[in-house]
Symmetry: C2
Subunit: 631 residues, 2 copies
């Protein structure tokens, strides 16, 4: 522990992005037990009081590793490069030329734009003619890739340390006690999980999205209007993954988006998703009717070469479904959905995304890009939940899933929006049925419309539930939803809210090791190991800050009481007496046992040494009263 | 609308407490349709664009009524005094003398304490010998009280305005389309609902807690260590009810608690609950073993005379259950529970609360105080959820419920704590079975232990679910839970979080009028009536503030676009085109219809008049990009 700074550097450093370990923890690299040499990054939280340290799933990449040299101008190490090349099925080729419209009509000299990424890839990879480089393709051929090994080790985290007292309601999920690389392969082969990792994003640390794995979360980021500081753009991604985002969607529009995306991907250890229609729309000056298959296709290639790991494609917004939205309270709220609806109406034609779907799939398999089939008709209000338009699109997404799978291309399905609690499960059930158990990826859902300013919570409630029912990844919502653009604090609150919702879902599903962290934290709480309690939490900085607002003295971190009950009376201490009592008696004979003594116990004497008097004084000054009887 | 100030006074005024209407709304008093003269306070939100105004349930009392004269030295008007006296079954008598120990050993001169309430009641009311003044007693005799009438009108809110398109999963609740006073009477008679209102708290506006009524929320407050400013103590209550607390529990301990409680009750329009064992413990210097029935009984009388509306009584913590907690991860976390456990262990005796239960009930019925049977053995961690100790106590609470009902005393049952999602419903099911459908009143539950600092959210997730399953009242949790004492902002966040959770539960249960507010807000959102969207939200101030951080210009409040998509592309506008299209075509012939024109529509022209150019400029400066595709 000597190597860990007492305080985490959570401000951006001179490197330009946020670095430094998350408080109280250190980066470890765990060798896969297959002995293949794959080493998986994890975070280890050291505890006090002789408690064993706890390893937790870590999305933060090298940024939280004090031993890693971070240089956003160079990008991250290419963890997967050798694995990709070693399969012998890819070729380098001359990249498509970057055009002015790629960056929102920024001139050729790019003045006013962000700088180009210094070592931009001029020769990207693609599958050799006739080859298919998707993880699904390998899986179906029976090949266990290093990516699958990585995922297995990463997901297994802690499962050996615990007695497998499975306890949960999994709603039909098949979560194994232990995850083997073969299990990962099988899930990917069946389409029940995806490992999104474009061969042109070798910097990514493989992760799986699927109902039988840990529930994942996504954070959305977007570029600033004046993107002069590219580090600021990269830091949005770094900040999101620091707090637990498993994937990041870059939803940038306007100028500089091609170059900004390059900076983000080269520095991202998590999969990056995009909605290519946004950029395609920019290329036609924002006029949806002017979109063409050729422009869209060119955009897919552009982003494929950069390394985008999954594409949201709204191919389920079919012409016949558009009029179904006419009577809705909030119509079409998906931006991609409304773009395609407008195109369909304007041309009186079926969507080119739907008609060209197999051609899109051809591109996806050449780079191993996963589909995130967009829910362009998702409900934007409680009134519109689970309506005809929504489910018509869902069943089309199911049809497209099967078509993608015919070419061994990985697929997940986007869902919800605004859905009251009693209608959430129907979404999951229909998705499982329609889409052959392809992973579900949902926004929230928000369970009421009446709390703008608190929609991270209205949606966190729905997210926890749909995660429990089987959704594989939850797209976060920030407190600014419906109102404005999130700032740094909003992003953190959104990520942590979704992290706790995903974890609650893992617990309820009976994920074997999920409870380990809850138990460790609760034990720390019970034993007044305040620092451990902070460090085990999803947001140690906020936990400590809140504690210190009431009891700021350093001694309060070891005091055997808290601000809720104060030193005079403590329910935790009473439980200790109950335990002592139970240890002396068996429960049948306790009535005959001798009286509990009121003398000072050794524990109490120890507390006195720790400055009980001083703490009592602090406590009296700060307010000795409780608002809540919860200990 | 001319009478409504543009901005709400949300800071405390010279009166000492927070007054002024909630933004965009006004207090109305609605005569009960029975014609009895009962008038029910509600809040009416006026809308723009020709939309009808919307009435919402209002807990805030006269403090949000600009026409009410607020004087905390005088207390609130005694709304119920005539009703109580009119029944002819009460008598005045000389109050118990206030003793030094009532205020935590404050000296007889009360120096250093808060001032005594100026017009303190010297002659409180109690039932005449042989009489029973509980609402349940009247209900069982077939009497519809004005309190029941008030509740019926209050709960009916908006139900006539809407088509009764019931839509929900009520899990066996029997929510009528329309609530009559007779329905209220019947629910109270059956014990399925309570109307907590001590005859010595005539200032309260009657409200019901029951599975077939709107889900309610409780906020806890506690006194400050240095309570020199009594207005500050009263304002904690006023602030909580402003944002929607249906009841308030005063969990104060230490000095000044008797006098502080008097100030709070005299100024509270909502029922006040307490945990009398806290004060009893103060009276014996914090030594649980020294508690006696006599001291406890005296405390009940003291608080009964002041007007406390419900008492948390931990009579289910029986001696045989205490050893069941020995192996828990977090033992006994309820303060009341641990006090009683310690007492039982120390004396090797059954709890005096259990043994004297019928005597307690005698007191309750003389004042119409409701039981809130405390869950002293609730789980304090995920590991301890639904264990033997917890359910042993619950079944005892069921037994006690029936004993209280034998004397026609109203009862609700306290529950949860920390419970993972898959174990929540079992709590509700067992409670319904064990306690004969007496209302359930739960803390959260928190669905994971790992997010201190965010426990309003971990518990809001559980609260929404258990509320949906049938819990009648949800006890709020603030972000400071487990860490420190909540401040004013924390209280507001806690209340709003629980309000949205309760509303989500109402929606999911299919409460007839719950969706009206969601629909009104979503319609406002869709039509870019920004002010209406703010005013219809649970927290208009925060909603507007968040909006203004991105688009502060006053013109942005009427702009037909938002910061998510910006003026160039707006999904809401596209939906309008879909509607126009659908209006011209029936959905069978849309393929043959003429092309949608790209010319400027009348709506677009109008927007231009509203300063589109100016707004676009603002938008560009502030950041034209979206983080989230949600409209």
């Amino acid at each position: 522990m000597a190597d860990i700074p007492a305080r985490t550097e959570i401000e951006r450093t001179e490197i330009g992005v946020t670095t430094g370990p998350i408080r109280g923890s250190r980066k470890v690299h765990v060798a896969a037990r297959t002995g293949s040499g794959v080493r998986v990054a994890m975070r280890e939280i050291d505890l006090e009081g002789g408690e064993p340290s706890l390893r937790v799933y870590d999305t933060s990449g090298p940024y939280t590793d004090p031993n890693a040299a971070i240089d956003i101008n160079a990008g991250l190490p290419q963890l997967r490069r050798e694995w990709i090349m070693g399969r012998g099925d890819v070729e380098e080729y001359d990249a498509r030329e970057v055009k002015p419209e790629d960056n929102g009509q920024l001139g050729p000299d790019r003045s006013g734009g962000v700088p180009q990424f210094p070592s931009v890839v001029k020769r990207p990879l693609r599958a050799k003619a006739g080859a298919n480089v998707s993880q699904m393709h390998y899986a179906r051929k029976g090949i266990i890739t290093p990516e699958m090994e990585y995922v297995a080790e990463r997901e297994n985290l802690g499962r050996e340390q615990i007695a497998q007292d499975r306890d949960g309601q999994s709603w039909g999920a098949e979560i194994p006690d232990f995850i083997t690389p073969e299990f990962v392969r099988d899930e990917v082969a069946r389409g029940r999980a995806i490992i999104p990792n474009n061969i042109n994003h070798p910097e990514s640390e493989p992760m799986a999205i699927g109902r039988n794995f840990l529930v994942k979360i996504n954070a959305n980021i977007g570029n600033s209007a004046v993107a002069s500081d590219v580090a600021n753009e990269v830091d949005k991604m770094v900040w999101s993954i620091r707090w637990g985002a498993d994937t990041v969607m870059d939803l940038s529009t306007g100028r500089n988006i091609h170059d900004t995306r390059e900076w983000i991907i080269r520095n991202s250890p998590v999969p990056i998703g995009t909605v290519p229609i946004y950029q395609a729309l920019e290329k036609v000056g924002g006029i949806a009717e002017d979109l063409t298959w050729e422009i869209f296709r060119d955009t897919l290639i552009e982003q494929a070469e950069q390394g985008v790991d999954y594409f949201t494609i709204h191919a389920g917004v079919r012409l016949p479904y558009v009029p179904m939205t006419a009577k809705r309270v909030t119509g079409i709220v998906s931006r991609g959905g409304s773009i395609m609806a407008k195109w369909c109406l304007a041309h009186h034609k079926e969507s080119f995304l739907y008609e060209r779907f197999d051609e899109i799939t051809e591109i996806m398999k050449a780079y191993d890009i996963a589909y995130s089939l967009g829910d362009g008709l998702r409900p934007g209000s409680i009134a519109d939940a689970n309506d005809e338009a929504q489910f018509a699109e869902l069943y089309t997404l199911g049809e497209l899933t099967k078509r993608a799978w015919e070419q061994d291309v990985q697929v997940m399905i986007e869902g919800p929006g605004h859905v009251p609690m009693h209608k959430i499960k129907e979404n999951m059930d229909k998705q499982l049925e329609a889409c052959g158990e392809a992973p579900f990826y949902t926004l929230g859902p928000l369970v009421t419309d009446i709390a703008p300013g608190y929609d991270h919570i209205t949606s966190g409630i729905g997210a926890a539930q749909i995660g429990w029912y089987g959704t594989a990844m939850l797209c976060y919502v920030t407190p600014k939803e419906h109102l404005g653009l999130p700032d740094r604090d909003d992003v953190k609150v959104g990520v942590v809210t979704y992290k706790l919702a995903a974890h609650a879902a893992d617990l309820a599903k009976g994920h074997p090791a999920a409870k380990v962290r809850d138990d460790a934290l609760s034990k720390a709480r019970f034993e007044f190991r305040w620092r451990d309690q902070f460090n085990l939490s999803l947001d140690p900085d906020t936990a400590e800050q809140y504690h210190d607002q009431t009891l700021p003295a350093e001694g309060a971190k070891t005091a055997h009481f808290c601000s809720m009950c104060g030193p005079k009376f403590c329910s935790m201490k009473i439980t200790q007496e109950v335990r002592d009592f139970a240890a002396k008696q068996n429960s049948d004979s306790y009535l005959a046992s001798e009286n509990i003594k009121r003398e000072t116990s050794p524990q109490e004497a120890e507390e006195a040494e720790k400055g009980m008097e001083e703490m009592s004084e602090v406590y009296r000054e700060k307010g000795e009263k409780l608002y809540l009887p919860e200990g």
